[in-house]
């Protein structure tokens, strides 16, 4: 379980806040989507979960323990992370990219290889033809699949995904969204998914947290939000002429 309690984050010593008094929980096994326009603090929030960014005040707990009291390296190794943009290591093959965390954890080469093959087939890229390729030789969609495979390599309980499909064309994006839905069912991971795409949020989220200017507007299931929007901002979200993507 991930739990944020009165979390504030300021990058300029308290003049302005990127995240302001944020409190919510992510329950075991659920997918929580952080939805908001760019600059609303959703990526900052995500990065505070694995301590890539440290909160100015408030607490972030993972499995009931304050992340600030934990070794950040060990914490990050237990939390899979799919990065915005590419984030694959360009000097490593697909195989090396996926095996990097198992390698850091000292797995045997046999279990590394088996895990790599298993993950590649899970994300729909046959190992025979993809393992030895470099990221540059892959399409954007294929790269992002490898990104997901890498995040799952050490079988983490949590998966953080930062607009993983944002840079892809619409067709590929929809295909990957469907695949993620299937994966979710099979993997039973706790997922925090950041997006500015309303459709994506409604499709993937078990629950959705809507952020605006660093504050939480509303958190709840699709039904909760559609039935009873908590604020004017949320109401507008569903009634603008071109619903879909927030900018």
């Amino acid at each position: 379980m991930i739990k944020l309690t009165h979390v504030f984050k300021s990058f300029d010593g308290g003049q302005t806040y990127a995240v302001e008094d944020l409190s919510f929980q992510v329950l075991r096994g659920e997918t929580l989507v952080l939805l908001g326009s760019s600059g609303c603090g959703k990526t900052t929030t995500l990065k505070m979960i694995n301590r890539l960014i440290e909160p100015s005040s408030g607490t972030v707990e993972v499995d009931g323990k304050d992340v600030m009291g934990r070794n950040p390296v060990e914490l990050r190794r237990q939390i899979g992370y799919v990065f915005q943009g590419i984030g694959l290591f360009p000097h490593m093959t697909v195989k090396q990219n996926i095996e990097i965390l198992p390698r850091l954890l000292g797995w045997s080469s046999r279990s590394k290889r088996e895990r790599m093959q298993e993950l590649l087939s899970l994300v729909g890229l046959p190992a025979e033809s993809f393992a030895q390729r470099f990221p540059e030789e892959l399409s954007g969609g294929q790269q992002q699949r490898v990104g997901v495979a890498r995040a799952l390599a050490a079988d983490p309980d949590y998966l953080l995904m930062d607009e993983p499909f944002g840079a892809l064309d619409a067709l590929t994006r929809e295909a990957l969204q469907q695949e993620l839905l299937n994966l979710k069912k099979r993997l039973n991971k706790t997922i925090v998914f950041v997006t500015h795409d309303l459709h994506e949020a409604l499709l993937l989220g078990d629950r959705i947290a809507i952020l605006h200017e660093g504050r939480l507007e509303q958190i709840g299931t699709k039904k909760d939000i559609l039935d009873a929007p908590a604020t004017q901002f949320v109401r507008d979200l569903f009634t603008t002429r071109e619903p879909g993507i927030l900018h």
């Binding site: 990065k47 694995n50 890539l52 390296v73 060990e74 914490l75 990050r76 190794r77 992370y81 990065f83 943009g85 590419i86 984030g87 694959l88 290591f89 360009p90 000097h91 990097i100 965390l101 850091l104 390729r133 470099f134 540059e136 030789e137 890498r150």
Partner: protein, 530 residues
């Protein structure tokens, strides 16, 4: 020269060429490695600590602007040591800039996105550095090493000036003997060496390039691994050539004592007459005693030879009374040769624990020299005769003469002369410059063979400005005391060579391009000493 003769010339010098190439590679290789050990960590440190960047790059950049020869001479004075150590330090300092700068640039250019991924995935700091940052920056870093090594091959040719060996030794000697062949014997292999180093490190760099690593064609990829080995192999090659051809080379001065006792180290300055005198003393000692001679010829100018003698890096070299008097002892001119010799002998013994032996006989004073044709045309016989025309004349002097109190500064004062312009020349090029009318007046050495061969005329020093320059062996007191035999043998040369004889010897070597060893042996045999 026929092709046959050319091959013969090269073949004869092959062993030494091999040795000098080894030394050259060693100088370049060791300094580049040392610069890598300092420069790469410095680059890494700077990429992590922003405030270090300005000061560190500033200092390294300033080092780079110091002219190489000035740097070598400065280090020589600072370390009070000639040879390999100051050369290695100078080369290392020059290699630092490209390596540190490229390391910094390479690391900076790694995308922030990739580094965040490395952090987010759970890499420790050093793992981020070793597994991601450095591999991605590697092509840029290696490009820096390549620049450093290639430039190093070039600068290393200058280390011969301070007795560190290398291919520069041929160039240096070629300059001293005005022998284009010898200069080329150093310059061509040095250029080839630079190309070789450039190519091999370039191949390594090529193999690191991402585009090559993921090249579609399998045979291209299969080249990468062998190429990756090229760099270490080149470096190991550099080390081993030098090491196996001349063991203990790098720690020359730490030769064990028992062998030291049997070796006499003779140095010379960097012009023909000195080489002849050095060779003469060497051959005599080798044939009349059971000492072995280490020839540290072409060591450098007066100050370098004197310094090396004082701190025991050499045992013996030939000095001139006038030079000892004015340049070393900073005394005013003593016109009487006998008095001058007595004075330097006493002062050297008291101040430096050095002993002057009996002079060879000739007086190699400076001679203000013009073209014979000009002298006849304008009726110049003495230096005073130049007074009227000096303002129209261009002078070519050696760098030493231009600055020494018994050189141009004093001459100007004594004769009230002011030349139109003064250019500095290497001693070996001065004669050719006046013969080709690039200058009109030079400060020739009275015994130089080229005075005759280039049809020049030395002007009479009518105001007796130039002190007498009688050459004599100067040897360390302790060596002489322990081995009086050496003194006895060198005394055999006392008074043996008059001005004409010395001019002739110089002429044989400079104009006829004969080998010094041959000329010296022949001379000693005719004098029935050998």
């Amino acid at each position: 020269m026929s092709l046959d003769a050319l091959f013969g010339y090269i073949f004869e010098r092959l062993p030494e060429l091999w040795l000098r190439t080894g030394e050259h590679l060693m100088l370049t290789g060791c300094s580049t490695l040392a610069a890598m050990f300092v420069g790469i960590p410095a680059g890494i440190l700077m990429s992590r600590t922003a405030w270090l960047r300005g000061p560190v790059m500033g200092v390294i950049g300033i080092l780079q602007t110091i002219p190489s020869l000035a740097m070598l001479v400065f280090l020589l004075a600072l370390l009070n040591k000639i040879g390999v150590l100051p050369a290695l330090i100078a080369l290392t300092l020059y290699a630092l800039l490209p390596i540190a700068r490229n390391t910094l640039t390479g690391l900076e250019e790694v995308s922030a996105e990739v580094m965040e991924a490395a952090r987010g995935i759970g890499m420790k700091e050093y793992q981020q550095l070793m597994m991601v940052k450095i591999p991605l920056a590697a092509p840029v870093i290696v490009a820096g090493i390549r620049t450093a090594a290639v430039v190093g091959v070039g600068i290393a040719t200058l280390s011969a000036f301070i007795g560190a060996g290398g291919l520069g030794q041929f160039i240096n000697r070629g300059l001293a003997l005005a022998s284009t062949k010898l200069i080329l014997l150093g310059a061509v292999p040095a250029a080839l060496l630079a190309l070789f180093v450039d190519f091999s490190i370039g191949a390594f760099e090529w193999g690191l390039r991402p585009r090559i690593r993921r090249h579609k064609k399998k045979w291209v990829r299969s080249l990468i691994r062998p190429l990756a080995l090229v760099l270490p192999i080149v470096l190991i090659l550099m080390g081993s050539i030098a090491y196996f051809t001349k063991p203990g080379w790098i720690f020359k001065s730490e030769t064990p004592l028992e062998t030291n006792d049997r070796i006499i180290k003779i140095a010379t300055k960097n012009f023909t007459e000195q080489l002849i005198l050095g060779e003469m003393m060497a051959q005599l000692i080798e044939s009349k005693t059971d000492f072995k001679v280490q020839r540290r010829f072409n060591l450098g100018g007066t100050m370098i030879c004197h310094g090396a003698l004082i701190n025991g890096e050499i045992d013996l070299y030939a000095e001139y009374t006038g030079t000892g008097l004015t340049a070393i002892l900073k005394h005013s001119v003593i016109a009487d040769p006998e008095k001058a010799l007595r004075y330097v002998t006493r002062a050297y013994h008291e101040r430096f624990k050095l002993q002057w032996l009996k002079p060879f006989g000739f007086n190699n004073t400076y001679a203000i020299t013009v073209r014979k044709a000009d002298a006849e045309k304008y009726g110049w016989n003495t230096i005073s005769d130049l007074q009227g025309s000096a303002k129209r004349l261009r002078a070519g002097f050696t760098a030493e003469f231009a600055e020494r109190p018994d050189g141009y500064p004093g001459l100007r004062h004594a004769y009230n002369l002011q030349f139109r312009e003064v250019m500095d020349f290497d001693p070996s090029l001065m004669y050719e410059a006046v013969a080709r009318k690039e200058v009109d007046v030079i400060c020739a050495f009275a015994t130089d063979g080229r005075i005759a061969s280039y049809h020049l005329k030395p002007l009479k020093d009518d105001r007796q400005f130039f002190p007498p320059y009688y050459a004599a062996p100067v040897i360390r007191d302790d060596i002489l005391k322990k081995n009086p035999k050496i003194g006895d043998v060198l005394e055999l040369l006392g008074g043996l060579i008059d001005d004409v004889a010395m001019q002739q010897l110089n002429f044989e070597v400079d104009a006829k391009q004969r080998k010094i060893e041959e000329v010296v042996t022949e001379f000693l045999k005719t004098k029935e000493i050998l």
